[in-house]
Each structure stands twice: as C-alpha cells, then as structure tokens.
Amino acid sequence: MVASLQLHQVGVRYGKQDVLSGITTPLLKGGEVTAVIGPNAAGKSSLFRRIAGLLDGPGQVRLDYRGEALGSEGVCYMPQDTSVNTVLTVYESVLLARKQGTDRRVRDDDLEAVDQLLSSLRIEAIAFKGLCELSGGQRQLVSLAQTLVRDPKILLLDEPTSALDLNRQVEVLTLIRSLSREREICVMIAIHDLNQVMRVADRVLVIDAGTMVTCGPVSEVITPGLLRQVYKVDGRIERCSRLCPHVMIDGPVSH
C-alpha cells in the first residue's frame, strides 16, 4: 500500500463553536476515491482544510506513505474558491505550484510535468492567458492542474467540477479516477451530483450539520433513506439500460 488516510474523531472548532465533530473513517487507501457529500454548509470544506493542516481541531488525522507517517506536506488540497485577481499566466501558476518548497531553478522535468498536465486536462490553448481573464470553468481546471502537478499522495478536491460543463465533468472525474488507480493516490472529493459520485467513488462519507452520518461503500450509502434524511427529498436508485445505478429525484419530501 502506498498512501493511506484515516480519521478518528476529527473535528474543527472556530472559537468556542464546533463546526465539525466526530468524523471517523476506516483506512482510506491509495487507489481509492472517497466522495464526501452533504448539504451546503455541512462542514465538507472545513473537513478538507482540517486534513490539509490548514485548521486545527480535536481528533487524529493519520496520514501514511509507504508505512511511514506523512506530514501535511504530502497532502494536496484544491480549495473550492478559485477566484483570483492576478496577471500570472496559467503556465506560470502551474509551474509555481510545482516549485513550492524547492529551489528557484526551473528544470526540464518541471516544464515537462507542467506540459503533460496541461495536455491531460486539455488546457494548453490557454497556457499563456492571464488567470484573471479565465472563465469559472477554466479557472477550476487550472486550479486542478496546480494541485495535480505537485505529485500528490493524498489528494483532497473540494467541488472540483462545480463550474464545468457536463462533458468536462465526466472527463475530469475520469482522469481523477484513473490517476488515483495508476499512481495509487488516496483521493477525497466533495461533489454535489450524486450520479457523478456513483460513477467515480468507491466509498462515500456523508456529513450533515457538522457531524458524520455514515461512511461506507457507495451502493450501501446512497439510498432513498439517505436522500430523505440528509437532502430532504424523495428519490429512488434505479439502474439504466447499461445497469449503472442512477439517482432519480421525485421531489421534496412529502410528509
């Protein structure tokens, strides 16, 4: 096993107020994708920031790489907010993400890594555009490139596809899925679209109002009961003609 992540009673506190508490997961292994779902303001971003070491709080975040404890430097986190007001170009911004914590000299392998990533995400055409000139979706792709170029062992993606069109969503999630498998990266990803969750994730962690509802395999967690309890909607899980499960929403909970 290459990388792994395990949470035990993890929480986040702002001042005296607990915004997140009691998050416990089984061992999340490299090569697996865990989706973090829940309503708005449930505490998903706080959880990611806590794992990335950007917030303090109670509980234990255990990060391992090749059997040894890993500091938060092994975690690559893509924040939800991608707004910027800088004239840095896309290429420069991805390169600088790669060069953090290293020397000032730019080497051939740095440029090669940036080139390959821009190509994987199909954003070479905007490589020399200023970040402040990009659309929301383009900014999200660039932010993803900045995160992936750092060779993550543990990857935390906070709604990485929320501004992308359907085609790009599928493409990006497929790329994340395959990178996770190929490089044995332990991925945690927050997504609102439950159908995408079912396509990409192995496991789901559900948070509601700052507490953990459940954590388990996708097929066991995403059920009509969960839709009712967490999202307050009536719905069904049905299989399409290709036998893939899909969430069908009937409407708000009928009392």
Binding site: R49, A52, L54, S72, E73, C76, Y77, M78, P79, D81, S83, V84, N85, T86, V87, L88, T89, Y91, E92, S93, L95, L96, A97, K99, Q100, G101, T102, R104, L111, E112, V114, D115, Q116, L118, S119, E124, A127, F128, G130, L131, C132, E133, S143, Q146, T147, R150
Partner: protein, 354 residues
Amino acid sequence: MASPSALHLQTARGAYRALVHRKKLMLLALLVVLTLSVVADLGLGPARYSMREVVLALVGSPEMSRQISVVIWDIRMPTALMAIIVGAALSAAGAQMQTILNNPLASPFTLGISAAASFGASLALVFGVGILPWAVEYVVSINALIMAMAAALFIHFMSQRRGVTVETIVLLGITLVFTFNALLALVQYLASEQALGAIVFWTMGSLTRATWPKVAITSVVLLVSLPLFMRRAWALTALRLGEDKAASFGVNVRWLRLETMLIVSLLAAVPVAFVGTIGFIGLVGPHIARMLIGEDQRFFLPASVLSGAAILSLTSVISKSIVPGTIFPIGIITALVGVPFLFSLIMSNRRRSW
C-alpha cells in the same frame, strides 16, 4: 518524426522559455534606463556637465579637472545614489506590501507609514523629543523610523484579524493617514517658526539630505532585504493565487506575511527617515513592473526595484531641470509626475494588471 501532440508540448515549453527570455530583456532595458538617468542626474546641477564629462570623471580620467571630479564624486554622487537606493527600497516595499496584503493600493504612502514617519520626525524637529534619547545625531531619522515601523506592524496585525478584507486594510490605512496628519498639524501649530520651516521641508522629501553614511545604511537595508525576498520568491508568488491556495501548497502564510512585513517596514521606514516623505514611488514602481513583466516574483521584484530606482532618479533629473540652478524638493515632483504617469499607464494598458 515528432507526433503533433509532442510538437504542441514543445511549443508550450518553448513559449514559456521565450517569455522568460523577454522578461530578462525587459530587466536589462530597465537597467539601461536607470544607468542613463544616473549619468544625467550626475551631470545636472548649478554647473552642467555633458554625459562624456560625467563618464570620464566617473572612470577617473586624467582629462577631467579635479574640480569636476570633486563635484561629481563628493557632492552629486551621494544624492544620485540615494535617489536610486531610496527609489528601489520604496518600490520593493510597495511591491511586497501589495503582494502580502493582496491589495493594489498598498504602499508605504497610502497606508500611512510615511505619515507616521513624518509625525515621528516632527516630534524631534519641534520638541527635540527622541524616542531613543541616546542617538542624538540621528534623532529625527530614528523617530521617523520607529513611528513608521509601528504603523507598518499595526497594519499587519490588524490585517491578520478574522473578517478583515482588502477594503478594510485600505480604510485602516486612510485612518492612519488622517490620524498622523492631524497629529502632525497639531505639532506644526505648536512649533516655532524655525521648527515649522524644518517640518515643512522634511515632509516635502529631499535628496539633498543625502550623505555617505545615510547612503551606506539604506544600501545595507536594501541589500540584506532583497535576497531574503528572492529566497521566498515562489512562496510570495503563490500568495497571488490567494491565501488558501498558497497554504494548500504548503506555504506558511501567517509566518511569511509577518516576516515580509517586518522587512517591508524597514525598507519603507529607513528611506523616509533619511530623506523625508517621498510618495507614489512605492505605488507606481510595482505597478509599472507588473505591467511590464507580470507577477512572477523572480522577475517582478527586480523589475520593481529597477523601475522604482529609475523613476526616482528621473524625477531627480526633472527636479533639477525645471529651473536651472534650483533643486526642487523631490517629494513634490514625484507626486506631480507620478500621479498622471500612473493614470496614463492604467488607462492605456489594455491588459488588466490587477
């Protein structure tokens, strides 16, 4: 034969290398402008010398009379060097203030650091009150320095509070400017006629106060600060992607900001302490650098330093050229020239720079 996608990759890498090459050329061009300006600055004064005479005096040619060498080396050189060092320091301070506070309006002048320094200096000029009583010779400069550093650190610690936005920092700076200007006015009101004249001259900013020891001290501060910034070039550039993003790259944002603000407060305060209030360099220098070269700190910082130095040196040339034989206080000229210059740059620049 290379595949089309491989060719495309080579192009992206090649384009980046070409971009870096262009930035280096731009830095070279700024250096040339600065050099020419310094030579012109050395040639101007009550006695005017041609560029050839200045260069020959600088290289110690026997063709030049002893008198010209003395004028150039002993009288004009400290002033000309002070112009470039002060310009460089203020511009570097402004560049890093804008970076760490994520604010295009941040500069020692707009955030009240210069006003605090003026107030500190006025205390010494009017009442002879030294914050450090044993340093009698540099009492004005030290008072200005301490007040400026206190203002810079106040801005920094306030900017660390939760919920403080970019707009709040600007408003905070404006309140500092008003507060220190009011205190300065109070001191001026209480001042004797002679002390009042000294305050007014000090607040106008003038390079004629330059001496070799002051040039040396300011140079040391600049030469120590710049490598410290350059060592953190990638981390400082990452701040331009936002605090969260930089932190997610492993940058210790809180520490980087504190460290940078401490260096910036020295860089901003020392020149103001020695030559008085010189506005707009800390604002205009970084903006010109950003427009010419972008925000990669490996190039942005040297470009800010060179453009700030060149602007103040050129302003020194202008201050000597308006009325031949008279040197206007440079603080007046920087404001008069700097504002329309910045305005024209902003209006003519098609590419958004902030």
